[in-house]
């Protein structure tokens, strides 16, 4: 589904990704962990198509298409979804109106008819349950005045509405208390259907107790330096990143 080869990317002339290789197959859940500044969020931003990030080398293929050549909206229409680390507040645009526009743009790109208000409302009501959203939240402006937990729930709600084939969760768990984390994780798990893939970027092993990954990767200095199963996450939780840093730095200096 997603193949990343030798990806190098920089922001403001500073190289962050240094030849990243990575593959995601349909239905897989990959967790990406790593110390601060290792390039986790850069990876998410590059995949979503943020213009400030410059890809200098490498390729990203998504279902046989060159993802890097696509605009952010075309990536979304093709089935890539980024749950933002910092969801943006958009005063004056209601959540429902925003989502209806988005859902219908995605449908249009697939040659499907636009949903009318009634159809849309019905689907919205179903999906709201997944993340325990109340109706008032859909009437409010996008993320405006939302708590941290509400913003992240709103991200997962949007994901449920847009039904992407690849979802990238960028530190969706950061700043959440355990109740909010559980709600978000339940939402994500409900959307695991054996076909949809996830890249779960996180700073904390705790999330992976709730969203159990198939693979765990450690990102350091812009490369994946270690991969394993969920046990690797437990090991990182216990021992921190220093042992991996030492291993990598020793190899680099050798």
């Amino acid at each position: 589904m997603l193949t990343i080869k030798d990806l190098k990317a920089s922001v403001e002339e500073k190289q962050i990704l240094n030849g990243l290789n990575f593959e995601v197959k349909p239905g897989e859940v990959h967790a990406i962990m790593g110390p601060n500044g290792s390039g986790k969020s850069t990876l998410a931003s590059v995949l979503a198509g943020r213009e400030e990030y410059e890809v200098t080398e490498g390729e990203v293929m998504f279902n046989g298409e060159d993802l890097l050549e696509m605009s952010p909206e075309d990536r979304a229409r093709a089935g890539v979804f980024l749950a933002f680390q910092y969801p943006v507040e958009i005063p004056g645009v209601s959540n429902a109106n925003f989502l209806k526009t988005a859902v219908n743009e995605v449908r249009k790109s697939k040659g499907l008819e636009a949903l009318d208000s009634k159809q849309f409302l019905k689907i919205m009501q179903e999906k709201m349950k997944l993340v325990e959203m109340d109706k008032a939240m859909t009437q409010r402006s996008v993320n405006e005045g939302f708590s941290g937990g509400e913003k992240k729930r709103n991200e997962i709600f949007q994901m449920a509405m847009l039904e992407p084939s690849l979802a990238i969760l960028d530190e969706t768990d950061s700043g959440l208390d355990i109740d909010a984390l559980r709600i978000v994780a339940n939402g994500v798990n409900a959307l695991r259907d054996g076909q949809r893939s996830f890249i779960v970027i996180t700073h904390y092993q705790r999330l992976l107790d709730y969203i159990v990954p198939d693979f765990v990767h450690v990102l350091y200095k812009g490369r994946i330096v270690k991969s394993g199963t969920k046990d690797l996450a437990l090991e990182l939780e216990e021992k921190g990143y220093d042992w991996i840093k030492e291993e990598v730095d020793a190899t680099l200096n050798a």
Partner: protein
């Protein structure tokens, strides 16, 4: 206004002016005032950019162009304009090239307590005798002087005491002339008597071919004790139109006025608003929205004058400026010595949509009372890139995303329009311009 003397007189060819004055069909009872106004205009002339109030808005071109009153015949018919009414049930008054077109209007069967007509027919009315031409200050406003000296016709709307009229009264002000350099004076008079309530809409448009036009409009609105006037002004003329608008509201005790100005078209628009809270417990809302592009210039000068205690005013102006367009906002609030317990708020937010767009904003508070609550804020910025990316990352195309954000920025200006039908119609105009 001492600067006036210094800025005179780059006046239009005075022979042309004489023609205008002579062309104006005088209403005898007001001849003293109109003659006085003519003198006041000759004294003031067309202001230059040296005049503080006209610093960013250069209208000297008006003095160099030989404008003339349109000689075109009225062409609009009822069936031709009916689908342009603000609501299907609106009372329509068509003002074509400055003169009421009675045939195209539907003011024959008005409800009890509402009178609408030309000054020529209503000149003996008591409210008109008392207020007409009395409120718009021609001594210090050159374009008011020009209008007062040269108006060809005036629309008068009178609501009797205790009449609550919820049907929109739509003044469709159209330039249909096919001549070049047309001067169109427009004069409106509105009086809501005690406890009356009305909804008035002015729409300005041009239908003529490539006509360079100078529209000079003055509206006087008198709101009596406990009366309520909801007003919307939509400016959507062609880009070769210069539109100078002066809107004066005189408010009595416990009265309410809500004015929304939507400046969507025109080449150069200058709006002068003057709201006088002349007695206790008045409430005034002033909302304004500019959508300017190409080389348009839209200038809003507002004055809210708190003369008496316990009044409330709230002003919200938003300007979206694109391409090489220019926006100007100058908002003055006066709180006079007697106006204790005043609440006066002003907010001006501007969005520059291109690198060549400019905005000049100047809030001015002059407070002479000591027990008041006043605030003002002005911000000018660009479209939020993060928000734009967020929308695109959800599959919304860049253009649609920009339109959505622009719409969101503009939306709350229209929220205050009380009449749902009028609001919907105005939203359609705004959406059309934004998309």
């Amino acid at each position: 206004m001492s600067t006036l003397q210094e800025t005179k007189i780059t006046i239009l060819n005075s022979a042309v002016f004489e023609n205008w004055v002579n062309a104006s069909p005088r209403v005898d009872v007001f001849a003293t005032i109109t003659k006085d106004a003519a003198q006041a205009f000759l004294l003031q002339g067309i202001p230059t950019t040296k005049h503080e109030e006209w610093k960013y808005t250069n209208v000297t071109r008006l003095a160099q162009t030989a404008f003339q009153v349109s000689k075109s015949n009225a062409t609009l018919t009822t069936s031709g304009v009916t689908n342009e009414k603000v609501t299907a049930d609106a009372i329509l008054i068509v003002i074509e090239n400055g003169i009421i077109n009675k045939a195209a209007s539907n003011i024959d069967a008005l409800p009890q307590g509402i009178q609408i007509g030309s000054i020529h027919d209503l000149k003996d009315n008591t409210a008109i005798q008392k207020h007409f031409l009395q409120h718009a200050d021609y001594k210090s406003e050159p374009f008011v002087a020009l209008n007062t000296a040269t108006f060809l016709d005036a629309v008068c709307i009178l609501a009797d005491a205790n009449v609550e009229f919820n049907t929109p009264i739509h003044l469709m002000i159209v330039n249909t002339s096919n001549e070049a350099n047309v001067y169109i004076p427009v004069r409106v008079f509105v009086a809501a008597e005690k406890n009356a309530s009305i909804h008035v809409v002015e729409t300005f448009s041009s239908k003529g071919n490539n006509t360079t036009a100078f529209v000079n409009a003055v509206s006087e609105v008198v709101v009596a004790d406990n009366a309520k006037v909801n007003y919307v002004k939509l400016q959507g003329e062609s880009e070769n139109t210069t539109h100078i608008n002066y809107h004066r509201v005189a408010m009595a005790r416990d009265s309410y006025q809500h004015l929304t100005t939507l400046s969507l078209g025109g080449g150069l628009i200058r709006n002068n608003l003057n709201i006088r809270l002349g007695d206790i417990n008045g409430t005034a809302y002033l909302n304004g929205l500019t959508l300017a592009r190409n080389t348009q210039l839209v200038d809003h000068h507002t004055v809210v004058d708190h003369a008496m205690p316990h009044c409330y005013s709230n002003e919200l102006y938003k300007n979206l400026i694109d391409d090489k367009a220019q926006g100007v906002f100058n908002g003055k609030i006066f709180v006079r010595k007697d106006a204790q317990k005043t609440n006066a708020f002003q907010s001006n937010k501007n969005l520059l949509l291109s690198n060549d767009a400019t905005m000049n904003a100047k809030p001015q508070l002059e407070i002479f009372a000591d027990d008041v609550k006043c605030s003002h804020g002005a911000t000018t910025g660009q479209l939020d890139d993060e928000a734009l990316f967020y929308l695109r990352a959800r599959g919304i195309g860049e253009e649609a995303a920009r339109a959505l954000l622009n719409h969101a920025f503009a939306a709350d200006v229209l929220e205050g329009i009380a009449h749902e039908g009028i609001k919907k119609n105005m939203l359609d105009f705004v959406n059309h311009k934004l998309n």
